[in-house]
Assembly symmetry: C2
Homo-oligomer: 559 residues x 2
């Protein structure tokens, strides 16, 4: 058995190692066009930041270590330039020239390539992507040499990691994102929190604009020109506007490739040629929630797919799981994480959206930080996706929900999860449990929600009832709202009825907990009531420019 | 509808609040024999430690706040002393004397009481449990007043929290545990890690011994006498040897109570009387893995059961989920957590046990800490339980596995969980995923394990093969082991065959990763091989007194 693997990073190396463990006698050749195999691509931003001081620490294995540990024939600087599927050979351009390498089974794991828009100036030496060890080293050397102004183009995961790394080094950063918000995989109400954190750390966030080119400046630096006319001086530019599948070799060999350029594979990672498999960022995967097929460039699923491909090449009946797209990023002191479908992916699916702001641990134990959680729930109770932003415990909650989605749990089942509780770690009713309780209440009609995005319509047709305490009301409230603290609501129902004057009542508090209690009182009184999902916290994130009335005399002053 | 609830802490208050949200017009009376309702019982150790400076922060609600927010009639210092089930009344001993309170539905949520062994001296004023706010305040006042020597009786969750709190205050601590190890819910190989952490922080851990009494000492302090003859001087004693259901009221009323004294309830929390429900630490619950019925005193399930009881009292068809016993405790710098069944609970169940020591985040990112993970897997692949100990990321992994167990996932499904990965948060192959891969390999025969507990038998009948690197070998190895680093194994197979001389080969490395690779090479060479689960790390935890040969000349010295 002769296995040839094109690409020696995540999917390719996972496949090679798994194949060896299953087949000690197989001949396994790994062709890697770059200088390194098995390097820590996800660690590159942390070399730029200086946290990973030595770039060699990003090199997890060498061809020599892979030969001795796993008996792999790993060839770097060796590019697969063509496949002869009839002859079952790969044409390799290596350090000593070109040659044909025969295979019994071929795995294509070439990964993705950075998208480079057709803009003038992107070929300047101080414009880099952050995809290779050489990129990270080059960017770091420029910072070491005194670069003090950076422009990061693209506010996705890699772009934000680059921003963080550059700020960590004290570099002044402009962040440019074509979409209306940073980190577009997040729903807008959570993206706003990330944007706020960036601004708090001195990053100039410019959304809804694109670069039109990069020019050399008289001072030896550069100027990034935007389509709104802005001109941003820069000593270096990080290009992180996305990646696309590197499927040219597959397409040239006549293998099926989809409209977005991703190699088409079945669940066992087999391409349209029964002797050729593909795995990783170059392939189209199936989304676990939406069923959509397309590339999802993430390390975990790539490694998993490589393992599946090895099993399949060696004859096992296996299937890669559909992909949830679980991802996490650290942005200064915040963590943002996602799993499953977001609002954009659910644009055509009727569903409920729940907003919670529970503490990452018990409120009575010092240091509790809010986990800002958004959960999408099908009208049939299906758990569709979740996102969270906060300072502590965000990755844990998303991992729990990702496990629940993978297992096919319903949103209401989140109420029954029995999670580890002691005051430093969580709450007896964890935010994830609370999401389950809210889902139960929404699905069975105990709770009706209204949403921050519907504010204008609500203001036009309903009584807005603010049930927060006096100090919260004074610190900023909607000018037309009626204020009745929830603790006084039972005694002051007649005021509410009078103010509503037949209109629906749309109640809110700070986070949605007290307004739920108020909602139950209002419903029992026969009123048409709904409670604001996520309360004032979510309202302010969705409407950052909202005009609120403050009553400074009534706000308690710090002693 | 008139609801009377006996007990105003976890289950009772959850039920009261839920009942109000569902039934605005219900009359809801909560009878609490103590001075506080809805206090943070789990927070008591952190008042003793000083982390929660003000004991008032442990009081989450007052009767007045519960009246205004939820319309509850909460009566403290009011003990239910008898139930007349025929008349549907509760006899209450309150501040103004005794009276009968009628009910339509009665919920018993009296909780548990501390087990107090019949030993002389436990009535001394400086001997306290840690169950009430008064306990925490009293213990703290003694420390504030200069107590410097403490004996903690019982090394369960509360006992360890008390030890940590006392060490935090600089108090000298002897910890006494009747069982052979601290934290008996942990399997011994993980319990050893907790014991080591305690010892590293100056705690004198005394396992396998019991107190026989507490005596007053001439210096005004006390002496705790143990059954091994030890006499431990102490200024205060914390009694934390366990709790039992507080079911006297229920039993006296003729309700079904099991052999351990727990009130028998159905899944809807209903007792043997259709007008009486019970919830929380006083009841018997069903274990989700073993199916055993018994008390499991944990806050999360208690709150959940209170909610179920309220729903059921108000006519809904509901069921509390079976209980996994998920729990977590901080012990100095370590976290220990459990979910599902442990080895003791599986004594009569054939199963596999997996040991892993993966990093809590990517190894190339600085600061990775081992998550010492034990996973029990049925021979049919069922996920039975897991435990973990480590410095970071322990609660996250146990929460993920608790979710997987609750959802009925198989152990092999852990391989497919798509968890949030970025270098500061996890690994592309998380320790939980790795447990799934190992489970796959063990269940399909790709990997055969041997266990540290079988060391004697292995030494008597097999070749022990150590495949670690030279420096690891030199730092300590079994005297009779053959040393062949895994990177040299393919070239030196003849040495192994000769040394085995027909015996099985039992291979190990430090954690079990490299010995798995070696195992595959040995199997391909036709040898009878097995790999040590958890490697030398687990071996040393199970056999702390193991005589290892060190070769100091070959150990690299720190520069």
């Amino acid at each position: 058995m002769k296995i040839v693997i094109v690409g020696g990073v995540a999917a390719g190396m996972s496949a090679a190692a798994r194949a060896r463990r299953l087949a000690e006698d197989a001949q396994i050749v790994v062709l890697e066009r770059g200088p390194h195999v098995s390097f820590a691509a996800c660690g590159l931003p942390y070399h730029l930041s200086g946290e990973i001081a030595d770039a060699d620490d990003l090199l997890l294995h060498t061809p020599a270590s892979l030969q001795s540990a796993l008996g792999l024939d790993v060839r770097t600087h060796s590019e697969a330039v063509a496949i002869d599927r009839a002859a079952r050979t790969v044409r390799v351009a290596g350090p000593q020239g070109e040659y044909d390498e025969p295979y019994d089974a071929l795995l294509l794991a070439p990964g993705a390539v950075a998208v480079a828009p057709p803009l003038p100036g992107l070929d300047l030496p101080a414009v880099r992507t952050l995809r290779t060890v050489a990129d990270a080293v080059a960017l770091r050397e420029r910072v070491d040499a005194g670069a003090r102004r950076a422009v990061v183009l693209g506010a996705g995961f890699i772009g934000l990691e680059a921003v963080e790394a550059l700020r960590h080094r004290g570099v002044d950063v402009d962040l440019v994102e074509r979409a209306p918000q940073v980190l577009p995989p997040l729903d807008p109400e959570l993206g706003a929190l990330v944007a706020g954190e960036l601004a708090d750390h001195g990053v100039r966030v410019r959304t809804g604009v694109s670069a039109t080119g990069v020019e050399e400046a008289p001072d030896g630096g550069m100027v990034v020109v935007l389509d709104d006319g802005s001109r941003l001086p820069a000593d270096l530019v990080v290009l992180s506007v996305g990646v696309r599948p590197d499927s040219a070799l597959a397409a040239a060999a006549g293998l099926d490739v989809d409209a977005r350029g991703a190699i088409v594979v079945d669940a066992a990672q087999r391409t349209s040629d029964p002797h050729v498999w593909a795995a990783g960022d170059a392939t189209a995967v199936v989304h676990a929630v939406t069923g959509a097929r397309g590339p999802v460039p993430l390390a975990g699923p790539a490694n998993r797919a490589g393992r599946t491909a090895a099993d399949s090449m060696l004859g096992a009946e296996v299937a890669s799981p559909p992909v949830l797209g679980t991802a996490v990023v650290r942005v200064m002191g915040l963590t943002a994480a996602v799993t499953g479908a977001n609002a954009a992916m659910l644009a055509d699916v009727e569903h409920h959206t729940l907003h919670l702001h529970g503490g990452h641990h018990a409120g009575f134990y010092p240091g509790a930080q809010a986990v800002h959680l958004v959960v999408h729930v099908g009208t049939d109770g299906r758990l569709l996706g979740a996102q969270a932003v906060g300072r502590e415990g965000v990755d844990k909650r998303i991992d729990v929900i990702a496990t629940a989605v993978r297992a096919g749990l319903r949103a209401t089942d989140l109420a029954d999860l029995e999670l580890a509780y002691a005051p430093p770690y969580g709450a007896a009713k964890d935010p994830v449990n609370m999401a389950g309780f809210v889902a139960q209440n929404v699905l069975d009609g105990t709770l009706a929600l209204w949403h921050a995005r519907d504010l204008d319509a609500v203001r036009a047709s309903a009584l807005v009832l603010d049930v927060r305490g006096d100090a919260e009301w004074a610190s900023g409230h909607l000018p037309e709202a009626l204020h009745v603290p929830h603790t006084q609501l039972r005694d002051r129902l007649d005021e509410v009825v009078a103010a509503a004057a037949g209109r629906p009542v749309r109640v809110h508090c700070a986070s949605g907990v007290r307004s739920y209690l108020a909602h139950r009182v209002l419903v029992a009184a026969g009123l048409d009531s709904a409670s604001l999902s996520g309360g004032m916290q979510t309202l302010r994130a969705v409407h950052p420019d909202l005009d609120l009335v403050t009553d400074a005399d009534r706000v308690p002053q710090p002693a």
